[in-house]
Amino acid sequence: MSRSTRIRAAIVLAVWVALATFPEWSVAWESSRFAAGIIRQILIFAIFASSLNLLVGYAGLPSLGHAAFFGGGAYAAAIVAQRLGTDELLVSLGAAVAGAALLALVVGYLAVRAVGIFFLMLTLALAQMVFAIAFQATDLTGGSNGFSGVHRPVLLGIDFNAANDLYLLVCAVALLVALLLWRLATSSYGRALVGVRENERRMRALGYDTRTLKLSAFVLAGALAGVAGALSAYEFRFVSPNDVALGTSVAGFVMVLIGGAGTLVGPIVGAAVVLSIERVLPSQLPAQMVLGIVFIAFVVFARQGLVGAVRRAVRA
């Protein structure tokens, strides 16, 4: 590892430790509990956005149906845990990953035949079909009324029911996912994905099986979205068709773009911005309008997203 990488890693680790211990050192602050809840949600959506970033930012696959795997993972975690009568983390999380990955395999197999705008619309269409199933399969998913009574998980005796314990779990998973994506991005696999994004024909000429590359990225991204979905099910103890809806796909897409597609920290920033506006902004302010103005502003002023703008400012 080069020196600059080591410095960056140290900074990231320091930030993560500060974040993970936030409930402790902020306990005197009256908004501590509420803020911790928002941070959990931001981290969950950061995982979701980061997984989408693998597709949009690295592989150049603009997917507008990613919520299918987020919600799919959430439903899988919730349903399997209830059906098997167990709260074991590895079981429900495993179900989420497996379910989301399987779904991503099916959807991806169909979708990666297309490129660009066609890929976008195809993922949208397939995800809407998943939404229809979630909405109507009332016996399985609870239908439009949602799936309630989801339990927070237990890992080998450690119970994550309390808000602060779940907080640690979410932080830990977020770190693991971030590390995984970082390794991927800097590996030859990640570079191959970028290569496919830049010029797929050339990659094929070089002997890469681009379709398998794209499909594997799609499945991986789907699986990670499923992880985020499972965490979301634990956080809210509830899964609803909203979690597989177009709005959630668009939200994730937008988080990637605002934060900066193709960067590692971008999706996290994007998630923080979008969720803060949607869930923290006082209700007197028109959140949707503020969100819209923020989007416009980012495109006008910060072409590489917020992270890119900060980078340029730092360099300047």
Partner: protein, 428 residues
Amino acid sequence: MGKRNDAAAERGYRISRRAFLISSSAAALAACAPSTTGNAASSAAATTAAAAATAGPPLKLGQLLPFTKVYAELGNSMKRSTDLYLKLKGNKLANRPVTVIYEDEANDPQVGLAKTQKFIDQDKVDVMLGVVATPIAYAIRNAVDSAKMIYIDTNAGGNALTRTTNNCTPSCKSPYIFRTSFSSYQISEPIGEYMASKKGVKEVFTFVADYGFGTESQADFTTGFTKNGGKITGSLKAPLGSADFVPFVTQLKAQPTKDIYSFFSGADAVKYIQAWNQLGLPAAGYKMNGAGFLTEQDVLAVVKEQANGAITSLFWAVELDNPENKAFKDAYQKEYNLLPDVFAVQAWDGMQALDLALQATKGDTSDKQKLIAALEAVKFNSPRGAFEFDKDTHNPIQDMYMREVKTANGQTVNTISDKIGRVTDPGK
């Protein structure tokens, strides 16, 4: 073409940062300019400051209502009603100055839950009210229950919220949850029984919106109707928010049963009634029946006389003749120049129930069990008539009416055509 675009982009935007900020701020401010959906908290706060001098400790209420997305209209109506109630009470309940914090449920259970946690953790409200969409009510049920937060549901009508269910699926009652609206059973089953027995209708075809509420209403109506010898000849479902209702109504006209029972609300109800008229169903002898929301004032304001003759059941009608309703209507019209709708009544009764309970506990909200007992004991005359909670389920015990839509003096309203009687939810 690619190269040229990069070059153009390098030049940067001609619009300067400052120009953008100014214009977007102006846009945002213009959008936020005075309108009836403005800020309640600030007006409440102003009167709070003035009254703080000789009153009890401030009372914080959290109202979770939709202000964006498809049910925004309902949220606005319920906010108007809440604001009016507080205004008429000098912004005090049990001599405690009131601050209401409104949050947008945005038709999203995640957002609803996040805002509920905000009420609990951040704002630390004394009592929570609201929620229009049933999935959101189901989502927050466990959160308010474990936080021991008293929550008065002023719309969401999913049956399970006030019932004992298997495994609390999809939801179940809680000692902390009260409802001042209805359970979908109450507005669907009695009309079924009534149509079969009192009106002697033998056959009905059902047509409902394809989601939890519609399905529940259809099932409860079927129970009531078949219990008294009626026969359901068939059913049709329309996806929630369908753009075009004409294909469905064409189907209705293609089948022989003349009595149709429906559940729709809002924009769906509007389109349904319009299609019903445009395809000539009244002339062909078809009769529209339904649960009350099919022809509530929000719908009638748009379709007007096209809804004439529709028979629906609800616990209130704008033409209900009792002194409280008259006073309520007059006050509402004077303040807002609008006719109130049932959502306004539900919100009003939420405040009224809370008001009376607080008076009983002398303003004490710290002892939850005492407040629960006080709420359970409230009995008052609401614009809908005699109101009380079922002590077991915390669902309202209320009179159910048969209403018929009539137009007179340019106004289309629901008139009371019959009273079904006092209805309580079975609780199981």
